[in-house]
Amino acid sequence: MSNIKKRLKAERRFKFYGQLGVFLSLLFVTLLMLKIFTTGSGAFFRTTIEADVFFDPKFMQVDKNSSDKEISRSSFEALADSVVNNNFKDLNEGQFIKVREMFTRRFDYQLRDYFLDNKDDYKKTVKLKITASSDLDQIVKGNYPRNVPEEQRKINDYQLSILDELNKQERIGSTFNFWFFTNGDSRDPETAGIWGAIMGSFYALMVCLAFAFPIGLFASVYLEEYTKPGKITDLIEVNINNLAAVPSIVFGLLGLGMLIGVFNMPFQVPLVGGLTLGFMTLPTIIIACRSSLRAVPPSIRHGALALGATKTQTTFHHVVPLALPGTLTGTIIGMAQALGETAPLLMVGMVAFVMEIPGGPLDPATGLPSQIYLWSESAERGFIEKTSAGIMLLLLFLILMNLTAVLIRRKVEVKW
């Protein structure tokens, strides 16, 4: 009698511990997400200052009849300065510099981009929302405190007074920061974007896939279907499993030493990064593929062999197609791992400041995680929200990839 009570109590206690564990892990994940979302969401918006822009021939080297090429090559720096002078009357030189600092350094680019699309505004005055500098942006978003001594602020009292004036005139606004999704990296947080890193990671993953998937598939097929079990296959098996557990930085060193050192491949390019990630993903793919091959019942092989199919026909007509969903699932999970890996990218130099969007696997590039790492290292406050926003995107890609893997597994699950 007392025994059953004790056992039930133990049961309840165990259940409680389990629930507590689940609750705590969910709590931590939620806190992490919350933190990332609250810090990162700011990166999707940027502060703007409304200004009257007069496309003044005096300050422009081009006119409405100029070709796009000419416009792209010409400087709008002088025009930008004139906009500042026109909108804020009677500035002395010191004041001018301070006001100019409140706008993004890429002020001129923004004017040029606008003019490219609106050449008819030549000699006309239009109201434009000019992007504010990151420091002003951070003040407006409340990430920088205002009520600290002036020397601890990046925005001085004079600039604050201008800001308040602009606020009163309702000329401070906020706009969706599509630059974050279309630009490459930049020294200025307000114009820094993640697209370069996304493309860098994309090319690296494509190289990784093109390298690791066929090799992994053929290696697995050979090991599973063609070799006889024995000491050598056991040795290979153990080695592959070990390889899967090797820290990624070791693969990075391999990429550095072999691809760059021995084969003289260029530094910093997705081709090398992708191959390095490929070394890392290969064991994952082989393990997934071999277990999928092993899951194909021998009766299928016997059925084909008994019909007079050759070993290769049996393998590629029947066994491999059945093992493919499992292999793909493993591959995608391996690629998701590769996407998040920073260390190999660091070793092969895919962690430099790259402004241009890479156009192919041979262009210098960073990867998503290394871009996040770069931003997190940066002292500027404006990059903190970029870091979190970058993490959000990385997590999104990881979730999408893992979801695809699960869906493939669900969808193509074979019934015998």
Partner: protein
């Protein structure tokens, strides 16, 4: 008694080892053309092992060593080095104990053999061959509207008849069947037995079975194995009515096995 030319397959001095373990011990057995021969015997006596020797499916098993002579149509040594194993299996088909259709469409299952052997030269010819094979396996009427459905969705009995259709699609001379009905209910079994009776017009059939009644219903010749030895062989009627050996008698009367 029978003229030599009427044997589809003659075996002699057959020994099979799995590693050091002997599974078949000096067996000699001949299979008359266009007749059904059944192999019976207690579990583990080596019936499947012997059957697998006949289309060299034992080659798949690493530890398995086969010795002996296997002569097909009085001329072809089926273990000859220069005879491609694929050609041999085209001539000697096999149906397994557990239905093992490919997880592809019904059509694909039957069309696969003809495709790899290049039996047909056009799509319509292949269509006809698939239809004919399904017909002869007594399955066509049941599946004619869903040839593109996946074969693993069929019932066990249908799957087994599909496997028979698959085996006869490449027009073998001999069909080996290893307990083809052991996974089936009596109705499905009856259908397969009817099928065997029809097929023997054109094929030599060698069937392993645990059912005495099945052996007596479908076969004209029966061989009784025990512990890797061939104890007795002969006309089915004789084996089941007055066998020469005590062991055979004990087995068929159910006294051991």
């Amino acid at each position: 008694m029978v003229d030599n030319n009427n044997f589809a397959l003659k075996t002699n001095n057959v020994y099979v080892h799995y590693g050091n373990k002997m599974a078949i011990n000096n067996v000699a057995l001949d299979f008359p053309k266009n007749e059904v021969t059944s192999l019976i015997g207690p579990s583990g006596c080596g019936k499947s092992t012997f059957l697998r020797c006949l289309n060299r499916m034992n080659d798949v098993i690493d530890s398995c060593k086969v010795e002996g002579s296997f002569i097909m149509n009085n001329t072809i040594d089926i273990y000859r080095d220069d005879l491609p194993i694929e050609n041999l299996r085209e001539k000697i088909g096999m149906v397994f104990q557990k239905p093992n259709p490919f997880p592809k469409s019904i059509y694909e299952n039957v069309a696969y053999g003809p495709k790899i052997h290049g039996v047909t030269s056009s799509q319509s010819e292949l269509d006809d061959l698939v239809k004919e094979s399904l017909h002869r396996a007594g399955l066509y009427d049941e599946v004619k509207d869903r040839l593109t459905d996946v074969a693993t969705g069929l019932s066990g009995g249908q799957q087994q008849r599909l496997c028979i259709a698959r085996a006869i699609s490449i027009k073998p001379e001999i069909i080996l069947m290893d307990e083809p009905c052991s996974a089936l209910d009596p109705i499905a079994t009856a259908k397969i037995e009817d099928l065997i009776n029809e097929l023997k017009e054109n094929y030599t059939i060698i069937i392993v079975t645990h059912s005495m009644s099945q052996a007596s219903r479908v076969s004209t010749k029966t061989a009784f194995f025990h512990l890797g030895n061939l104890i007795e062989e002969g006309d089915t009627s004789k084996i089941f009515t007055k066998p020469d050996k005590e062991q055979t008698n004990d087995y068929i009367t159910g006294r051991f096995g």
